[in-house]
């Protein structure tokens, strides 16, 4: 069943077609009017083909199938023939039949999309999508048995994951060589990881709740706001109407971390369905493999519960949900625990207690006979409270957010010209205090946007969009965006994107990793919004090599900052200066990725990335610290039919990174100017059963760790202490095992 959201974001929906359960929509029928032919296009497996083109033969009159594979076309001549085509399938020409709902089945063109390519690929790129978007499916997510969203990109080349500091255990992502704060992270198209949870929020999305993740590189759509600067991630969670009746997962690792996940979904009536998603984790062991007296990983415990509802219907679709989350971390010197007071404790303590409550929902008004038209309202409200401590310094923060986005979608004349127009409203209320300073900020941001899509054929598409937001504190934000795609042949297509994005920084929380040091925080001027332009493109091509296609993706993106908030760790190792950019700041990112199925069971994916990321720090244009210029990635996966046996091996190679200047420290505490390169290898084996699966894996198989990640760990309250200069893994080899138990949903 299509969600409201899927309906409203047809472009996003197009790429999800493989994931959507369609059983109940297959046999729908409705009566057609004179001159109007309607029907459904499906593949041989009865799965609807979304975005298939239906053309009246010899005319320019045509339609594109919707989320259910359905189309409706007013014919110029009712005795016309229809030409139905879809990438990877043989086109078909047949007589239009106005008397009934036509069921058109296309045959896969085996030369282009062999069965192996389809079954073995857990990540794929949609050929028809105008934007450069990769989709990480649940199958791909299972490869890394990931605990949460921050670990979901292990087997994806476009998103880099790294530790932020030697104490908090938090992982951060990077895209296009830039920090993850420039990526707009949405949950089901609602802006999600931002504001106060910008730093740790990835850890608040449990892996077992995730159905799929769309990774969009470069400028994103204007529909979701102005915050997409280097990319857009959209996380789709398990749906009330399609997810398993019961899904239980237990996980334990060699450090002593335990996790329990439980999902339950059921129909309440023929229209309403509900899902409960639960996650709990607990880790209270003290791991100090490098013997510096500091825990390599903080103790942690989390309770996370979501209850969501969905109403499906011909005319009105609704969904709403509630999430309650409490996460606690306690790290620092050995002996420091959850309830301890960091201000009086003899140990150096790190504490983070985050409580978050969120309500969210969507309402869609549909027009059953005009599948291209609709109204959508998406909204959320959240309350976040953080109590944190870094050594003797206390941080508290609360954020209250309200968000509403109203979207109207329609066509202009025919479905070659589509548009979305809408208005959004954001209210964001911050109250923060750190050490002896307090900050409050209330953002009120109404915005308007328009997105026009020109889809004349499945070879070419163009999306031109713009939005304007009226920020109460920072004036007007103008965000134009342009996306275009051209398909040279069945095997080669090119995409280009350009756009501008904005964000308002939260200087203390978003670089709170630097606070685990003796550095004095010095905010030199009032932070201005960060503004960047992003320009780039990608080329996707397939070569036949032996029996299989070698899939190659080349992409290049350039990000140029008009303004950026600079976190200067270089001027002095005793301070962290924060100021607005005064000079140049840019990032060039180049990536080439190849994917090849060696056999029916084995697929190899490899990528090389080059980053040139420079910014003006202390009056001088220099490389941004902690970014590898070169990176290499290799993933080999083996899977038998239906994933009865699955094995994965992922090798990351990180080139050297520039490190912040420590020349003003005493000689013995100084660090190299550059980090060494290193390998990071993960592996996992799983065995599937009818009831689920068991898995066994290892992270950081080689056990490589950064030597002495903390500067002067013996004097944590002294002036030289610094746990923020982290470029590599802190913890050594970790082994984990888990079990998944599923009760499938009855089909009707």
């Amino acid at each position: 069943m299509p969600t409201v959201n899927d309906f409203l974001f047809i472009t996003e929906a197009i790429m999800k077609f493989k994931l959507i359960l369609i059983i109940s929509t297959i046999c729908l029928s409705y009566t057609s009017k004179a001159q109007v032919v309607s029907g459904m296009v499906a593949d041989q497996k009865h799965e609807p083909l979304i975005g298939a083109t239906v053309l009246e033969l010899g005319t320019q009159n045509g339609a594109v199938t919707d989320i259910n594979g359905r189309f409706q076309l007013t014919l110029v001549d009712k005795s016309s023939k229809l030409v139905v085509s879809f990438t990877g399938f043989k086109s078909d020409t047949l007589a239009a039949d106005l008397s009934k709902l036509m069921h058109i089945k296309l045959q896969e063109s085996l030369e282009e999309l062999g069965e192996v390519t389809v079954t073995a690929s857990a990540t794929f790129m949609d050929q028809l999508e105008s934007k450069h978007v990769e989709i990480i499916t649940e199958a791909e997510l299972n490869k890394a048995a990931c605990c949460n969203l921050s670990e979901s990109f292990e087997t994806n080349a476009s998103v880099d994951v790294s530790f932020t500091d030697a104490v908090s255990g938090a992982k951060t992502i990077r895209m296009l060589g830039l920090d993850g704060r420039y990526v707009q992270i949405n949950r089901e198209n609602l802006p999600h990881i931002r504001g106060l949870i910008g730093r740790y929020g990835l850890g608040y999305v449990p892996g077992t709740w995730i159905q799929s993740i769309d990774v969009g590189k470069g400028s994103g759509t204007v529909v979701n706001g102005y915050e997409s600067m280097t990319g857009q991630l959209n996380v789709e969670l398990k749906k009330p109407e399609t997810s398993e009746t019961l899904y239980l997962n237990g996980y334990v690792n060699s450090f002593g971390r335990m996790e329990v996940n439980a999902n339950h979904a059921r129909n309440l009536s023929d229209k309403w369905s509900t899902a409960f998603l639960f996650h709990g984790d607990y880790f209270a062991s003290e791991v100090d493999n490098n013997n510096d007296g500091f825990m390599d990983l903080p103790k942690s415990r989390q309770f996370n519960l979501m209850n969501r509802y969905k109403r499906t219907g011909e005319k009105v679709m609704m969904q709403m949900g509630l999430q309650v989350m409490r996460d606690e971390k306690a790290g620092g010197q050995l002996g420091f625990g959850f309830g301890d007071d960091f201000q009086t404790s003899s140990e150096y303590g790190f504490l983070n207690q985050t409580t978050r409550v969120e309500v969210f929902g969507k309402t869609g008004l549909l027009f059953p006979h005009k599948p291209y038209k609709g109204w959508g309202f998406i909204y959320s409200g959240s309350y976040t409270d953080i109590d944190a401590g870094f050594g003797r310094n206390e941080y508290t923060g609360t954020e209250k957010t309200g968000y509403l986005n109203a979207i109207y979608q329609n066509i202009i004349g025919n479905s070659f010209h589509q548009y979305k127009a809408g208005a959004s409203f954001l209210i964001d209320d911050f109250e923060e205090s750190y050490a002896d300073s307090a900050f409050t900020r209330q953002e009120v941001v109404p915005g308007l946007y328009y997105e026009y899509s020109y889809l004349p054929s499945d070879k070419f598409s163009l999306i031109a969009a713009g939005r304007v937001d009226f920020h109460n504190l920072y004036g007007n934000f103008y965000s134009p965006r342009l996306h275009t795609r051209y398909q040279f042949s069945d095997k080669t297509s090119i995409r280009m994107a350009a756009g501008r994005g904005y964000r308002v920084a939260n200087p203390i929380v978003e670089r709170s990793n630097i606070l685990v040091s003796s550095r004095q925080l010095i905010v030199q001027e009032a932070p201005e919004p960060e503004v960047s332009w992003n320009l780039g493109g990608s080329l996707v091509t397939n070569f036949t090599l032996g029996d299989e296609d070698l899939n190659l993706v080349f992409d290049y993106f350039y990000t140029h900052f008009e303004n950026q908030l600079i976190y200067d760790m270089d001027q002095s190792s005793n301070n962290l200066f924060i100021y607005n950019l005064n000079g140049d700041s840019y990032a060039h990112s180049f990536q080439v990725e190849g994917k090849y199925a060696l056999s029916q069971f084995v697929e190899i994916k490899a990528a090389y990335k080059f980053y040139d990321v420079r910014t003006t720090i202390a009056g001088r244009l220099q490389e941004v610290p902690f970014v590898s210029r070169d990176r290499f990635f290799l993933n080999a996966s083996y899977a038998t039919k239906y994933d009865k046996w699955k094995a994965d091996l992922t090798i990351h190679w990180y080139g050297s990174k520039r490190l912040p200047n420590t020349n003003d420290k005493p000689m013995e505490l100084q660090r190299e100017a550059e980090s060494p390169d290193y390998f990071h290898i993960n592996t996992q084996v799983s065995r599937g059963y009818r009831w689920g699966s068991i898995y066994l894996g290892s992270e950081n198989l080689l056990g490589f760790t950064q030597d002495d990640p903390i500067i002067d760990p013996d004097n944590p309250f002294g002036e030289n202490f610094d746990a923020s200069i982290v470029w590599g893994p802190i913890v050594g080899r970790m082994v984990y095992a888990g079990i998944r138990y599923k009760i499938k949903r009855a089909n009707n």
Binding site: I23, I26, C27, K45, H46, D97, M102, H103, K105, K644
Partner: protein, 125 residues
């Protein structure tokens, strides 16, 4: 020669009538191979049966041909036998040679996999 041929035909005929339309397992490189006639009607049925058999003990491979409704299963005779495989197919909701489908499982099948839902479809090929 002639009598020999008659005997041979007779033996084959008797053998055929005894199996009552069911084919017998034959030896192949990886074990035994059996063709089982099912009541599968579409590729979703194919998926369901092949998926289920993939996790059956002793199963090496299973491929269902939708037009003929015949699933070809290769299995290890030490771990399973043809009747066990047939019974397993009935539990998915389909007839398997002489074995009647499990009616509870059949009720749970998707609409498209049930009897009489494929007559009005337009199939251009």
């Amino acid at each position: 020669m002639k009598t020999l041929r008659i005997i041979l035909i007779a033996v084959l005929a008797i053998g055929y009538s005894q199996t009552f339309g069911q084919s017998e397992p034959i030896k192949v490189a990886q074990g035994y191979k059996i063709d089982i006639k099912t009541s599968a009607v579409c590729s979703m049925c194919k998926e369901a049966i092949e998926y289920d058999l993939a996790f059956e003990k002793g199963e090496k491979s299973a491929t269902l041909d939708v037009p003929s409704k015949v699933v070809t299963v290769v299995y290890n005779p030490k771990k399973t036998d043809a009747d066990k495989i047939r019974k397993r197919i009935t539990k998915v909701g389909y007839h398997a040679d002489n074995f009647e489908r499990d009616s509870v499982a059949y009720e749970k099948l998707p609409f498209c996999c049930k009897d009489g839902t494929h007559e009005d479809e337009h199939d251009p090929h």
